[in-house]
């Protein structure tokens, strides 16, 4: 037995309990939460055994919002107060919403803010708040099932979500009181669930058609590494559009005018969705719509009629497929399998057309509704530190090119689409007038050469440039995109070091103040107060840092630090421990900053050591291959 207990110094298993982590698929139509238990990923059901939570929130006057099936029951009777498909509004501006127009039977509040707000009987709500309600229910479900608080979650987003949409999703999770370990792209999550299950190797395409979004990703799977080669899609294309196509067909057939009342519209959409689902098995379905009391329209929709209605939508999804393959530099023949994800891939015509396009039958053996949540759960388990020996590594890409506006309204790309994340890239720019001392930097996203064809992400200003002749200043603009796909931009005048930077808060996002207000509103003032909450947050941060430094010291402290350096770190840890015991939030914050600074050099040495070891280790395995 003694032999089994031997362990190398520094490799002692981490003395902590298993962390509770979950994966959340926040979908347009349905949402799910999953976790890994006893090594197996599984979705969690509510008390009535239902796994799918309809992404619907019902706001009644003077009552807490209801979510899911209960809320969905109100969709037809009380459409203005029943918010469905809110994902379509995440990170969108007021103008985008106008464009979606008649597809959304809600009342929008006139507001100064760039973010659309919906008027309900319970007050005005933003899409972020509606999403937070859905997340809260999933959080409660997970905590009730697992009997513990969640330490962290992975929330999935469509790969084609832009910076604003990602930020909005993260804000919603924050509002729901969740610690987001990572935003994970849905097709990548599906590939993880599928790939680990099937020991897959080679090039895979994930075709993900959900309720409101379409994504396609081309991935190379190699010994646990999931490398996304390219991604594409349409963040406003999905099963909802099929429902609308069918509903519009019914309206034409039944001579219903364009200005039908919202309740009739909702009923039509519900009937359309049911007809679409039944046509997965049946060849034709009978339809009946009550237009007015005593006035009923009857009709039949056949599968071939349905196919004709949805063909243009499917066609729209194939162009991004073609482009993703081209961006990945992969030929059709090189694709090993096509994995179908998302409820809308149940439609036979979708399978047929996708199969034709890729010249092979697509894989449909995994539940397209659950696979994304399962993949997210696996990744959450890894990120929480429950699988220290895993080989799994996800390398994702940014879906859209990022750049800045230059003279003449041109968009200069700094990070092209499909660049592996994280990425940090700089480019030098200059002034165009003599004596110019400031400039405004306009960050844009998109593939067009003209700024007018791109989406505006943010604007910020750099001041204090010394007066020089036009073209003499050297301003380096640095873009950094983290593993979540979120962008930060900084600008620095090279000769004087004048600096300006922002975490890009999208033009269509909520401001920090707005989020703060919502957070404050959401706190139950009777049992909780802001100061206590902030103190607790600092304590959690302190514990996490102490834990991380402790692990690092046990692993590499002896090898990489001399006595003086070690003593300095020990002292900083001790200060943080004592501060953490106190009630002074500020003191904890300062002690965290101090320990962070003291360990900077150590952290950097550890990473370089890791790199060195990786290369030597690699050389040995390369020799073995010969």
């Amino acid at each position: 037995m003694a032999l089994l207990e031997l362990s190398e110094p520094g490799q002692t298993p981490r003395p902590h309990e298993r962390r509770v982590a979950a994966g959340i698929d926040l979908g347009t139509t349905n949402s799910l939460v999953a976790t890994v238990r006893s090594g197996v990923a599984e979705t969690l059901a509510d008390t009535q055994g239902r796994h799918l939570l309809p992404s619907v929130v019902y706001y009644a006057a003077a009552a807490a919002p209801s979510v899911g099936d209960d809320a969905k029951a109100h969709a037809v009777t009380d459409p203005f107060n029943t918010i469905a498909s809110v994902k379509r509004l995440m990170g969108r501006g007021v103008d985008d919403v106008k464009r979606l127009g008649n597809q959304l039977p809600y009342r929008f509040a006139a507001s100064e803010s760039a973010v659309p707000r919906i008027v309900t009987s319970a007050g005005v709500v933003s899409p972020v708040e509606v999403s937070a309600e859905i997340l809260k229910v999933l959080k409660q479900r997970a905590q009730a099932t697992l009997g513990a608080d969640l330490d962290g979650v992975v929330v999935t987003v469509p790969a084609y979500f832009d910076d604003a949409q990602r930020q909005a999703t993260k804000d919603a999770a924050r509002l729901a009181g969740l610690n987001v370990l990572r935003l994970l792209n849905e097709p990548t999550a599906a590939a993880v669930a599928y790939g680990l299950d099937h020991q897959a190797e080679g090039v895979y395409v994930v075709y993900d058609l959900g309720g409101g979004t379409f994504d396609v990703s081309v991935l190379r799977l190699h010994r646990g590494v999931f490398e996304v080669l390219a991604t594409g899609g349409d963040s406003a294309l999905g099963g909802d559009d099929m429902d609308h196509a069918i509903a519009e067909w019914i309206m034409r057939e039944a001579n219903i005018g364009d200005h039908a009342d919202p309740m009739l519209l909702r009923r039509l959409l519900r009937d359309a969705c049911q007809a679409k689902e039944r046509l997965t098995e049946a060849q034709q379905v009978a339809l009946e719509v009550e237009l007015a009391p005593q006035q009923v329209w009857q009709g039949t929709l056949t599968r071939s009629q349905l196919n004709a209605l949805i063909d243009p939508l499917i066609q729209r999804s194939l162009a991004p497929c073609r482009r993703a393959l081209r961006d990945a530099n992969i030929k059709l023949e090189e694709v090993r399998e096509v994995v179908m994800v998302g409820g809308s891939t149940r439609v036979p015509r979708v399978r047929e057309r996708v199969g034709q396009f890729f010249a092979r039958p697509p894989l449909v053996d995994i539940d397209p509704d659950k696979v994304v949540a399962l993949g997210a759960a696996i990744q959450a388990d890894v990120l929480a530190g429950n699988k220290p020996d895993t080989d799994m590594l996800l390398l994702d890409v940014n879906p859209l090119s990022l750049g800045i506006e230059t003279m003449g309204g041109l968009a200069e790309k700094i990070i092209p689409r499909n660049t592996t994340l994280p990425v940090s890239r700089g480019q030098d720019f200059t002034t165009y007038k003599d004596g110019q001392t400031a400039l405004s930097i306009h960050v844009v996203q998109g593939e067009r050469d003209l700024v007018s064809g791109c989406r505006s992400l943010a604007r910020f200003e750099l001041h204090g440039i010394p007066p020089m002749a036009a073209g003499a200043a050297r301003i380096r603009i640095l873009f950094q995109v983290d593993a979540d796909g979120l962008l930060s931009v900084s600008a620095k005048e090279q000769t004087t070091g004048t600096e300006s930077s922002i975490q890009v808060k999208p033009s269509y996002g909520l401001t920090d103040n707005e989020i703060e207000t919502m957070l404050l509103d959401s706190i139950d003032h009777a049992t909780d107060d802001v100061a206590a909450r902030q103190l607790r947050e600092q304590q959690v941060d302190a514990d996490r840092l102490l834990d991380a430094v402790g692990v690092a010291l046990r692993a590499d402290g002896d090898a990489l630090l001399d006595k003086t350096e070690r003593a300095a770190i020990d002292a900083a840890m001790q200060s943080l421990r004592s501060a953490r015991e106190g009630q002074d939030e500020r003191a904890i914050k300062n002690a965290i900053a101090a320990l962070d600074t003291t360990t900077a050099e150590f952290a950097s040495r550890r990473m370089n050591e890791g790199i060195r070891k990786a290369l030597t280790g690699r050389r040995i395995s390369e020799l073995k291959d010969i």
Binding site: V549, A603, N608
Partner: protein, 200 residues
């Protein structure tokens, strides 16, 4: 108050190569992967080492780490990504090698491409324009792609030879061929666009 100009002007055509975001690892891209600098590299070896390095430094490995570690991980992983992206692509790799030799591929004065090459480019572009206007000419497009492929292979061959010789005159040849490859790549991208237009 005077309104601040809403735009900036590009300083130069030259690209900013990151010089190692982390202070004590200011190594060149080849050193990062422990490879000998040169145009001829073993792509499988590069890819294998890239994956091993990312396994070590990717920010996901530090999800439970300190802020310090996570910031460092993002910087190092970004640096490794940049190095890999540059070295795996022949045109980028060649540009970077020239950069290490302190030759800027974007230097306008160095642009003296032979007229024969430019003429051929113009002809190909015209042919592409005809395909765009006349969708029946699909077989013409296949011919254009074949011509582009052949041209690319020839140019890459010349480039490899030039780097293998490595003297000052050869580096000038290399630079010229990098310019040519950029023309060729741009043309291929346009041809692919036309292909998409035709097939949709």
């Amino acid at each position: 108050m005077r309104k601040i100009p809403a735009v900036v002007v590009k300083a130069s055509r030259s690209k900013v190569f990151s010089d190692g975001a982390v202070s004590n690892s200011a190594r060149n891209f080849f050193e990062i992967f422990d490879l000998t600098p040169g145009f001829a590299i073993d792509l499988a070896l590069l890819t294998g080492r890239y994956r091993e390095l990312q396994r070590q430094v990717h920010p996901d490995k530090y999800a439970q780490g300190s802020d310090q570690e996570r910031r460092l991980a993002v910087q190092m992983a970004a640096n490794i990504n940049d190095a890999f992206r540059t070295l795996k692509d022949p045109v980028e790799r060649a540009s970077y090698l020239l950069h290490l030799h302190e030759i800027s591929v974007d230097d306008q004065s160095a642009r003296r491409l032979d007229p024969e090459f430019l003429l051929e480019q113009m002809e190909l572009r015209e042919a592409l324009g005809e395909v765009r206007n006349n969708r029946q000419a699909v077989h013409e497009l296949t011919k254009i792609f074949t011509t582009i492929d052949t041209l690319e292979q020839q140019t890459l061959g010349t480039l490899a030879e030039a780097f293998a010789r490595g003297d000052a005159a050869s580096l000038r040849t290399a630079n010229e061929n990098v310019q040519k490859l950029r023309f060729i790549n741009k043309l291929r991208a346009e041809a692919e666009e036309v292909e998409v237009q035709i097939s949709s």
